[in-house]
């Protein structure tokens, strides 16, 4: 099977259409399981009581905010190097979801900070760099929006996304490099999690849900982008007819 076939918008469009519902369904399933464990099955925390339950939203959104940026930057690099239209469209489709997760991570973090640290906001390295991430997403979207020639928008915003990518490791390692208010990682590849197993399960399930949701939304959005950008191509007309059942 030739996977490069799917690098063309025309053949990726139907594939994305077939995949999106599965990921959407997966997201709903994981979210339901995760929420059940997080809100009902998981015990209260020894120190934080029930306030810790924000963790189930906060961690998933915070992980996704960084991860989506990296994926976006990856597609941007691909689109610049191979002049690939579809890669640029993927990046474009990911940005709003990334911004949404970043905003959610900031809001849930702030809400969590009040009961735990005693303040909504402090200018520590983790929070500041996460805020910068939000601005980078905004900048990326605003730049795209401002350039009305799609090819130029693709390439210019790709340069910006790549320049901004240095921020992601800074966010991740900020708690290690600086003595900050924010806690260190509870979950890492190199050591055992410092978290009870049920809690961890709930958190991971919700992270999976966020992951699947992002994929489903990105696929759906990329379909809309393909239709909009390729509206002059012959196959789009055929696809539109097919949707209306004319065939």
């Amino acid at each position: 099977m030739n996977w490069f076939r799917f690098a063309s918008p025309a053949s990726f469009y139907p594939l994305a259409g077939r995949l999106a519902p599965w990921f959407g369904g997966g997201a709903a399933g994981f979210a339901a399981a995760g929420l059940y464990i997080g809100l009902i099955a998981a015990p209260t925390d020894a120190t934080q009581g029930d306030a810790y339950r924000i963790i189930f939203v906060h961690v998933a959104t915070a992980w996704m905010s960084m991860f989506i940026y990296l994926v976006m930057a990856f597609w941007c690099a691909v689109s610049l190097m191979f002049n690939a239209r579809l890669a640029a469209m993927m990046a474009q489709a990911l940005a709003p979801t990334g911004a949404l997760f970043t905003a959610l991570a900031l809001v849930t973090g702030a809400l969590w900070g009040k009961p735990t640290w005693g303040t909504y906001w402090a200018w520590d390295a983790r929070m500041t760099s996460e805020l910068i991430l939000l601005f980078l997403y905004f900048g990326y979207m605003a730049l795209r929006q401002a350039i009305d020639e799609p090819r130029r928008a693709d390439r210019a915003s790709a340069v910006l996304a790549l320049v901004g990518a240095i921020n992601v490791p800074i966010i991740y390692f900020s708690v290690k490099w600086w003595n900050t208010l924010h806690q260190e990682a509870s979950v890492s590849l190199t050591s055992a999690p410092t978290m009870a197993a049920v809690m961890l399960t709930g958190m991971l399930l919700l992270a999976l849900a966020a992951w699947f949701y992002s994929i489903a939304i990105a696929l759906t959005r990329v379909r809309a982008i393909i239709l909009e950008r390729e509206r002059h191509a012959g196959w789009v007309g055929e696809a539109a007819l097919a949707v209306r059942g004319v065939r």
């Binding site: 500041t128 910068i132 900048g139 605003a142 730049l143 350039i147 390439r155 340069v159 910006l160 320049v163």
Partner: protein, 236 residues
Amino acid sequence: MTAAAGELGGIPAPGAWRGAAWAVRRDLRLALRSKAELGVQLLFYVIVVTLIPLGVGPDPALLRALGPGVLWVAALLASLLALPRLFATDFADGTLEQMALSPHPLPGLISGKIAAHWLATGLPLVAASPLLGLQFGLGDDELVVLALGLLLGTPTLSLLGAVGAALTLGLRNGALLALLVLPLYVPVLIFGAGAVDAVRTGMGAAAELSLLGAGLLTALVGAPLAAAAAVRIAID
């Protein structure tokens, strides 16, 4: 007046250094041509620095605490204000096109433009900053670190700003440029103002200054390449 080429009588090979030298010479001449300009940039800095205390009130303790932050924010804004001019006129009048078509590598030419921009807009601020810091009651050590921080930080601002300016070429949207560039400016601001604070509290600013230096070096390598890529996109 005439290029090195002419003075040597022959036509030298093109190269990044030569391109950079050409751009520095040309842009500095342009900046100096309107004689008032350099002074004006400085005056803007001075005015902003004196403006913020006006809005904030005359409490001397408050002013002392504000000093480093205000001086750095003003430097950042002065840099931001000068950015749109960096490429826009060259883009509109066709110079950028000619630069891309010249035999010199584009990143070299662009580095030259950035260098000239910093010499014309950043360096005067660095030179003036100790005097302005005096007004806020900063001590000798702090003044030295302020100037040193600006010396490392303002070129970084020019380099990062150049990427933003190149990306927004032809969009005529000053606010968009600011939006793209400010997130990148924030770390410079934090470490720059932090360095002065660190000396004031007797801790030594070595860490902040190293980070500013590291930022400068990274920007020095990456920004001209990114800006050149953006320029190529804009003229296509």
